[in-house]
């Protein structure tokens, strides 16, 4: 039938759309590697790394609620250590916003819940040391 080639052309168009990640990856030359993040200088985060990677946002929201609503500022970690429930004081004392938070969020296409609507990146405002 003379429409057969038209139909297969339509299917070809669909395949082009469907395989968008393939030729986009070929065009951009992207690799499968995810951002390598530096582990915290303290050597241990407030929770095991798997838990932090999967659910850090829930912990941060819980911390915010505890701190702002209930004035509950001490967090007892899984290993018994006590931390202050503070993004600036605890998280950002080890991790760097641009090197840690932003890279992974940009890689995963997660816009972030708006931590930085209120908090500052302390290192962005640190006085520059002239050599």
């Amino acid at each position: 039938m003379r429409e057969r080639w038209l139909i297969l052309l339509g299917y070809g168009l669909f395949v082009v759309f469907f395989t968008f990640p393939l030729w986009r990856a070929a065009a951009v030359g992207s690799s499968a590697s995810m951002p390598r993040l530096q582990s915290s200088p303290a050597g241990q985060c407030v929770a095991p790394v798997e838990q932090m990677r999967a659910a850090h946002m829930d912990m941060l929201f819980q911390w915010r609620k505890d701190a702002v609503r209930h004035n509950n500022l001490s967090f007892v970690a899984f290993n018994g250590k006590v931390y202050s429930k503070s993004l600036d004081g605890t998280c950002l004392s080890c991790h760097d916003k641009q090197q840690f938070c932003d890279r992974c969020h940009a890689y995963s296409g997660v816009s972030g819940p708006g931590c930085w609507n209120c908090h500052n990146d302390p290192r962005a405002f640190a006085p520059k040391v002239t050599p």
């Binding site: 039938m1 429409e3 057969r4 139909i7 297969l8 339509g10 299917y11 669909f14 395949v15 469907f18 968008f20 990640p21 393939l22 986009r24 990856a25 070929a26 951009v28 992207s30 690799s31 499968a32 590697s33 995810m34 951002p35 798997e50 990677r53 999967a54 659910a55 946002m57 829930d58 941060l60 929201f61 992974c104 940009a106 890689y107 995963s108 296409g109 997660v110 816009s111 819940p113 708006g114």
Partner: protein, 328 residues
Amino acid sequence: MRYRAGFALLIALAPACAGVALAFLPKPFLVLAPAAAYAACAIFLLGLPARLWRWTSSPVPFRIPTTCGQQRSLAWIPPARLDNPSTGLAAAARMLLEVLTFRSLLRNSRSRAGDGAVHTRDSLGLWLAAILFHWSLLIILLRHLRLFVQPVPAFVLTLQKLDAPFHTGAHPLYLSDLALLVALAYLLLRRLADPVVRYVSLLSDYLALWLLLGVGLTGVLMRYLVGVDVASIKQFAISLAVFSPVLPRNCGPWFFAHLFLACSLAAYIPFSKIAHMAGVWLSPTRNLANNNRAVRHINPWNAPVKTHTYAEWLEENKDKLKSAGIPQ
């Protein structure tokens, strides 16, 4: 008949259970995840054109469009250009509107006998659920590009922002997630609750719905409730796209359930009614212009019939007719 939905659920649970089990098997078994993804894509991308090829082999000798309005006639009779398309362009416009807005489902109605008469009323729940489901699914599929493409395309980020206008807690609620699950629940309950629809529902009808619900529920579970390591999942997804698959470590049981359900669904598409994604374009009641009276359509494989016309008979017997004095 009573157990169709249950059997379909059992079938749909198999890939989900296999996925959950995979997370607890020894590491080498993780190779099943990229294998399943590639196998499903291959079945989908080869099975669909195989079915299309079979459809293209079906003869469509005559114009058989469904007409839902006045056909083009005399100049002073206004035609229904969309509902009774007389040109290829109008047929294409009707097809496009059908694919994008499901106009034919707007004609869904319910009939009820009573008071010695049959009462018919519009029943637009099906249209609403169908359009919510399909558009939500499209948005969700496009949003998944953030896991397959690096760097994330700008239109995906914009779509994410538009899809989640309310910032509710740590996980902004995607309206498409909500709409998809509500619509699927309605479509399933419609089949189960309505005795008339239940009677015509087959196992395959339920299977498609259970698989879609399974994919949707595991996805929502990962995003809003259990939490997953998105970066690791993206690394796995993008490694599939660049054909150098890595093993999906740290992805968790719900991710594997989600993946296996999605793979089952993709592999099932060419063999199921979900192939309507391709079939709708080939539907001869939709893609043909109704010009049966304006244009003569001749069946292309009509066998040559040996005819003997009256004119030929007259010519052959001219002399006899003349000699007998019969006027010609």
